[in-house]
């Protein structure tokens, strides 16, 4: 218990008067690899934003590194975040390597310019996402998947202890996605990185993660992938519109057309 990095205690979050997360209790320990699943609009992004202190819960407590998420101070440098999609200005005059460097803004410190260590960290991060050749390219002149890799590199350049990824592979081709997951898996194993991964890829999750949280406004299920990702579990999460069929232990899912979207 002492190793718990992120603690949520009966947390509820609402936008205006619409409740999107209700009574979520969850703890993430150092070294965990938590997969977060759930249908569109189930509050996955909101959960990450709440942990980051960007969205305030109206009830319950969140603690990150034992502190209130909005009072993390220096500890913020230990958290990397890859947003789901950013509305970034594609005509913005900035090179790929400078976007990655921006991830280290707070680590470099107020009034200082990046030093040798910072440039090296940026180089390493770019290498990890196979973008070192495009380092000088203007950010907006990349493909969507390449841009997503830049944002991953931006989080990695911080050399974080906790990495939160919101559907990081949504725009990646199968090859890059696969090798990215493999990389995540090895880094997680070797460096003891704590990972929170939001994904819709039900087939990938059980191969890599150590725990699964299924969201649908409530925390529908939380535990080991093999106990959570059962037919009943997925059914409870995705509702009646989804059909499941199993190939061995990896569930595959087909989502039938829904009549109404998020509720």
């Amino acid at each position: 218990m002492s190793d718990s990095l992120i603690e949520l205690n009966q947390v509820s979050v609402a936008y205006q008067d619409k409740i999107v997360l209700e009574d979520i209790s969850l703890s993430v320990n150092r070294g965990d690899f938590l997969g977060i699943l759930g249908p569109n609009g189930s509050g996955k992004t909101t959960l990450l934003r709440t942990i980051l202190g960007l969205t305030k819960p109206f009830s319950g407590q969140v603690s990150v590194f034992g502190r209130h998420p909005q009072r993390l101070g220096k500890l913020r440098e230990k958290i990397g975040y890859v947003p789901q999609q950013s509305q970034l200005d594609l005509s913005f005059p900035i090179a790929v390597k400078d976007v990655v460097m921006l991830g280290r803004t707070h680590k470099i410190g107020l009034g200082k310019s990046p030093g040798k260590k910072d440039h090296e960290a940026v180089q390493r991060a770019l290498k990890l996402v196979y973008l070192e050749d495009l380092a000088e390219r203007q950010f907006g002149r990349l493909s969507g998947g390449q841009r997503q890799r830049v944002l991953i590199a931006r989080a990695l350049a911080l050399e974080p202890e906790v990495l939160m990824l919101d559907e990081p592979t949504a725009a990646l081709d199968v090859g890059v996605a696969e090798s990215f997951f493999d990389w995540l898996h090895t880094t997680h194993a070797n460096l003891g990185l704590t990972l929170l991964l939001v994904t819709h890829d039900v087939a990938v999750v059980p191969r890599y993660v150590t725990a699964v949280a299924c969201l649908n406004k409530h925390l529908v299920a939380h535990g080991l992938p093999e106990t959570v990702l059962t037919e009943e579990g997925l059914h409870a999460m995705y509702g009646c519109g989804a059909l499941f069929f199993h190939h061995g232990s990896v569930p595959h899912m087909v989502v039938a057309r829904k009549n109404q979207s998020d509720g």
């Binding site: 975040y81 400078d98 921006l102 310019s113």
Partner: protein, 290 residues
């Protein structure tokens, strides 16, 4: 032309032109990249209310304009933070109401002789040494803040959400930025006038955007455009005896069209189209490293 520089008023005008051109160009880069040019126009027109208030109360209009512009800038920031109202609506409200306030006060000044025209359209040749001194001070403040918060302002401009994630106070920095913007506008009123300041905020930065794809370069090129436009405008207006503010803005506009014509973006586009037709294999590999 150089003998003009023997006159003190011309020396002062030259320093003022340099300061105005440089500060507007630097702040203008953020204004253009954040799509805030309407706010620039809003705050500068608000300064009309401030100037009129100064005349009305018989104190230095420059001082009342500083206070007035700061208040309006912060009000715009505060109102547009409430998400029900978009920034441009907030600007629209203050744009008109502060002008109306100014017009009202000027109407009450019946019979009093005031140099409203100088404030509306600028008179760079009539800058006093006290005014010049306050311009230097304001410019120093603006440059210091920009240099000190360079990374943070860049991140905020490029990706405000990420700025919040790493714990920067987006609100605090917006407030700082609006303050700098208001100071810059007041600083430039003497040179180009209330009506034309916003042009000097937008045009040099927009010209620079045509020619560069790096933030730092955009900043440098914008300053070059801004300062050169102010110099050229100043000398043309002195030699031809025409309005300084208008000449400066028209010179900047001329440079904008030049930069559009020589923009490498357009050249690159043409080259790219050529390349794609040939289907170069490197181009394909680049997008797929495996």
């Amino acid at each position: 032309m150089l003998e003009l520089l023997q006159f003190t008023f011309m020396q002062r005008a030259l320093i003022a032109a340099t300061l105005t051109g440089a500060v507007c160009a630097v702040i203008g880069v953020y204004v253009v990249l954040r799509g805030m040019s309407f706010i620039g126009a809003g705050i500068s027109h608000a300064s009309f209310g401030g100037v009129a208030l100064g005349f009305f109360l018989r104190i230095n209009p420059f001082h009342t304009a500083v206070v007035f512009c700061l208040l309006v800038a912060w009000l715009i920031g505060w109102v547009s933070e409430r998400q029900r109202l978009r920034e441009d609506a907030a600007v629209g409200i203050f744009f008109a109401s502060t002008m109306a306030f100014g017009v009202l006060l000027v109407g009450l000044l019946k019979g009093v002789q005031v140099d409203l025209f100088g404030y509306l359209f600028g008179n760079i040749l009539a800058i006093s040494s006290t005014e010049l001194l306050s311009m230097v001070a304001l410019a120093l403040v603006v440059f210091t803040v920009i240099v000190f918060f360079y990374k943070e302002l860049l991140l905020l401009t490029f990706d405000a959400e990420m700025a919040a994630v790493i714990g920067l106070s987006v609100r605090g920095f917006n407030f700082i930025f609006l303050t700098l913007l208001a100071l810059t506008i007041v600083l430039s009123i003497k040179a180009v006038g209330i009506v034309l300041v916003s042009a000097l905020l937008v045009i040099p930065a927009a010209s620079a955007a045509q020619l560069t794809d790096r933030f730092r370069n955009m900043m440098i090129v914008s300053v070059v455009f801004g300062v050169v436009s102010c110099w050229v405008g100043l000398f043309l207006s002195a030699v031809l005896d025409i309005a300084s503010g208008a000449t400066i803005v028209l010179t900047a506009t001329f440079f904008f069209f030049i930069s559009m014509l020589i923009s490498p973006q357009r050249k690159k586009m043409r080259m790219r189209i050529g390349k794609l037709q040939k289907q170069s294999p490197e181009e394909y590999q680049e997008s797929n490293p495996y």
